[in-house]
């Protein structure tokens, strides 16, 4: 079990907040030792594989939280049938692979958190995060690691640089590395997603990570 998690509300810049008043980012920092998932985590994945069946995957988009993320994807110009929402991507992978395959402790923790709550959880290397974390719109000339970013993109950023495109690529060097000792877990809240589900997602991820740390 993890100790009491210190959840922090990230900033949302004024332009975004005006358009999406209920958009938010909640994050927390936890110790991590990336590596192979321990047996209890792998057992949880197997159990989840058995419980997650085809009809459940089909009905996913009618459930309130996955639906809320689909709607948000539409609102920000992403086609959720082209680039899947995280929970749908997990469901599709489950159908394709026949089960939730364990990859490593961090990925498994994010998968379990998303699967149990429907809320996508992101992870960053705490050493790469500089200052306050939040959501904002990029101005022209910014980069995501070494890649140029077009202006007007919605990104997860710290006080100095974009860390990841929202529900997209993470900047090189900002993802959790094998050498990472601490990581930042962040969950994006959109309209229609209860606050408690966002917090639960972070709890599940933190608790799973703590099992292997």
């Amino acid at each position: 079990m993890t100790d009491e998690l210190e959840l922090t509300r990230g900033y949302v810049d004024a332009t975004l907040a005006a358009e999406f008043p209920e958009l938010g980012l909640v994050h927390t920092e936890v110790p991590v030792r990336p590596g192979r998932s321990p047996a209890p985590v792998r057992a949880r994945l197997r159990g989840a594989s058995d419980r997650f069946t085809g009809p459940k995957a089909v009905a996913l988009r009618q459930q309130p939280i996955p639906w809320a993320y689909r709607v948000f994807f539409r609102h920000v110009g992403i086609d959720p049938d082209e680039r899947r929402t995280p929970i749908e991507a997990i469901a599709l992978e489950r159908m394709r692979a026949g089960g939730f395959l364990s990859r490593n402790l961090v990925d498994d923790a994010l998968l379990l958190a998303t699967l149990e709550t429907g809320v996508p959880v992101l992870a960053f290397d705490a050493a790469a995060v500089d200052g306050a974390l939040g959501l904002r719109v990029t101005s022209g000339g910014e980069t995501l690691g070494a890649l140029p970013l077009a202006g007007g993109r919605v990104v997860v950023a710290d006080s100095s640089k974009p860390l990841a495109v929202l529900f997209g690529d993470t900047a090189e060097g900002c993802a959790v590395q094998w050498s990472s000792e601490r990581m930042v877990l962040a969950a994006v809240r959109v309209k229609g997603v209860p606050e408690v589900s966002v917090e639960e997602a972070l709890w599940v991820a933190a608790e799973t990570v703590s099992e292997g740390t």
Binding site: R36, W67, R74, E82, V154
Partner: protein
């Protein structure tokens, strides 16, 4: 026209205050459009579940290069495309279910009078169901059945079983 205006003096006409242009609250319109998009997405989701396991439906509406803030016209386009997609898929589903209903009636007729539906075959997918089940009208006892006009509906027992050993479950 000149007679109509005769009674008016020019200065009286000038005294009419100009109509101020209406200010459009774009944020409110965008909010409204987003609500419409959400409602359409909900209806599309429900329709998606209703169509399962049928295939051949198109759900993509096209990405707008997100994640970014969409303009008013882009939100309008998105709303219209979603509405069109919903309408198209609803019509397609209605057509399919009509054909499926005909197939169901045909199965009933086949069961009642197999000799009137010689060699007709209806598959599970023809009635909008999953699986490999099929209703096939065949002669009883082969050639004798053909000569004696003895026909029956053979209902298949389903999909063939998978052969070989089950692959081991890999969990990393």
């Amino acid at each position: 026209m000149a007679e109509v205006l005769e009674g008016f003096e020019e200065h009286a006409l000038r005294a009419v205050p100009p109509v101020a242009p209406t200010e459009v609250d774009e944020a409110a319109i965008r909010r409204l459009l987003r609500e419409q998009v959400a409602r359409l997405e909900g209806e599309l989701g429900a329709l998606f579940c209703s169509t399962y396991p049928r295939t051949g439906f198109e759900w993509n509406v096209g990405s707008r290069g997100g994640p970014r803030l969409l303009s008013l016209s882009e939100l309008e386009e998105l709303r219209d495309e979603l509405a069109a997609k919903l309408q198209h898929n609803r019509r397609m589903l209605a057509d399919r279910t009509y054909v499926e209903e005909l197939h169901r009636c045909r199965i009933e007729e086949m069961l009642l009078e197999p000799e009137r539906h010689k060699y007709v075959r209806v598959r599970a997918e023809d009635i909008g169901e999953r699986g490999c089940k099929q209703w096939h009208v065949l002669p009883r006892f082969g050639l004798i059945g053909i000569l004696m006009n003895w026909w029956r509906v053979k209902i298949s027992s389903g999909c063939p079983l998978a052969r070989g050993l089950r692959p081991p479950f890999r969990d990393g």
